[in-house]
């Protein structure tokens, strides 16, 4: 899940699939995010220090 591979975005051109199309479906989506959906399905680790530092670890 958190391997670097998962950082790759999987996306399509948002312009070809306007967000309003999704909202127009009968099964209404949750409130749309402020900047609209652009169909980038990205799940990435939220890691403040995305890599632990080998040097810090090595010294103690």
């Amino acid at each position: 899940m958190s391997s670097p591979e998962h950082k790759r975005s999987e996306e399509v051109d948002p312009k070809s699939t306007p967000a309003k199309d999704a909202a127009a479906k009968s099964d209404a989506p949750p409130p749309a995010p402020k900047t609209g959906l652009n169909y980038v399905f990205k799940i990435a680790p939220a890691d403040p220090k995305n890599s632990f530092d080998f040097e810090d670890v090595a010294d103690k």
Binding site: M1, N38, K42, S51
Partner: protein, 732 residues
Amino acid sequence: MKVALIFPPQGHFTQPYLSLPSLAAYLRAHNVGEVHQLDESIEAYDYFLSKERLRRSLEHVRAGGGLAALDEKDTLTFSDMERYQTLSEIELIGDELVERIEEAKHVLRTPAEFYDYERYLWAGRTLEQGLRLFSAEFAPSRLTPHGFVTRYRVERSREILAATADEKENPFIEFFREHTLPRLKAIDPDLIGISLTFPSQAIPAFTLARLIKEWKPSVHITVGGGLLAYTAEKLSKRREIWNVIDSFILLEGEGPLLALCEEIKSGRRDLTRISNLMWHDGAQVRRNDQRDPLDIKTLPTPDFDGLPLDKYFSPELVLPLAITRGCYWGKCVFCTLYTVIGPGYRGRAIDQTVADMRVLSEKYKTKHFYLAIEDLPPNMAARLPQAILDAGLDIDWWCDARLEHEAFTQEVCDAMAKAGCKRIAFGFESSSQRVLARMCKGIDPDKSIELVRRVRKAGISVTLYVMTGFPTETRDEARETLQTILANRDAIQEVSVRVFYLDETSEIFKRRSEFDILEIYPDPEADLQVYYDFKAGSGMTRREAREQYLEFTRALRSHFPVFQNTNMLYHELKSHYFLYLAKAGSWEQLVSDVLERPRAKTSDPRRPRARSALLKRALGFDRAEIDQRLSSIDSHTLRPRYQSDLVEDEDRARFDRELAPQQRADSTLVYDRRTGEIQCFSAAAAFLLERCDGTRTVEQIVEVVPQPAQDLARRCVEQLSQSGYFEKESAS
């Protein structure tokens, strides 16, 4: 006579260090009176990472507001991003951390929980997150499992002293006042010895000394330890230092400390009689003669009595034991370790070592040892294993060693494994014979790899130390080293890589022109400077060395199981990896049972329902992107301070001016309460997660997504499933 020996923060939290137990044993053997040992490093971690203390941090951070205001902005500057990163995490999991921090410590201290790898990972992450929450209260100071950094530079004595009085950014003032001083008052010592080994201890150590002197000016405070080998002379020149301490003990501490005890006990307090002592006589700094190194065969077994052995964040004790002092090789031009302990190499007798192991094992109910030595000498490698076996000791141990091709035969390696050796860390440094020769390593890279394979064949885990950026080393040579390691990764379990630092106490510094070092860059304000940035006439530039280091770490992450994904065993280096290794019995077993254990396969739910254990927080900016940007900025900044990735104020101001601001992009932070992991979902991914409510099939979930994106949406749902975001009972 009462003596208090103190190990100040910050050291690692998984096991005790050896300095205090060695000194305590020596003083107790000479009947100086009461000897108390205080490991204030583990005590501080335990206190900071407590429910009550973390709640205060959370309240403090919340009172400062922040995230909502940042989320209203159109763009974020670099400084904003730093705050956003911290505040978004705290906003999401602050309450959860407060509620479960004690549970996390319990997991790490309890065998049944610790060796449950999923629980271990959760606990490790929770501790790190807890330290981030705590650190936010004292920003920009940062306490991690591996360090303590502040805006004050430990290369400048003026700044160290200033930090000791900064209540806002120095968390140890409160800790010492509330916890250490009351205990010291109860002991009421005549002499206090502070052990100073790491730069991360400098500010806490002098903070503590200052507070002690405010309480009891008459108590003699002496400071000893490895760091003084580099800095004592320089520190002694700052007059104010002598307001908070009374003496420095240089090199080995046992003899001088005993002599100091005797002077104080007798009331003579004649400091001129004590060897290896530096002190101030009121008019000037005095440095007494250096005594000969101790014969370590005369030393008692280390005594850990009085240390808070149940507080370390490990389920079983791993005890450090020194069977040698100094390095029998002692020729590597970059190495400065011999300056720490003093001249000469000395070894303890084999039968003493075995007796030490037996005594400690029985007394402290542990079978785990870390041989805290520079390198295992060939004669001991040949004889110690059989002695351990003959004594019938059932122990596990690990140590450092040189790649001595002739000494570590297959027979020797097999015997070491049989006698409980689980891991050896070797100084490999480079696969270039030219570079190794310039380092005076005295090893051959091809033979070293042969030796590594022998050790592996014996079933011992192999760690290699590697250095990049040694003067004259070219990028090609460094890449060749990386390729050699990757080509032999079936025989190597861990690699510890670091950038070369030019240390002024090293041989290479003294002979730097021979290594094509054209210029060094002293910091005029850094009176304690030990490490120098430099310009070389050949080989990699410093920036290239740093880039090569990053290339190395990326490759290690891709190819070595121990560094991959969410693995934290290496991160908690000091004893956790070793304990897991000992528990599994072999590296292969550890990989198959733990590191690469396939997750329990569950059928894909027909109507997926997101687990209720997820906490979510919608954000106006993409946290993952912010993480990536900040990390890449850090990565591309040459770290001007040794061992501190703290961004300097002037750099921050420059980044704020020059870096493109972060644009808005909705995202959702999702925290998994079972694993402790936090993921950042793009708006579309978060939207799909919301739709996974148990009422829809996968097709119904993705049908609202426009046709061209539906395949991607299906894959995203699959990823959610594989990542364990769905309730199992949804499967039908």
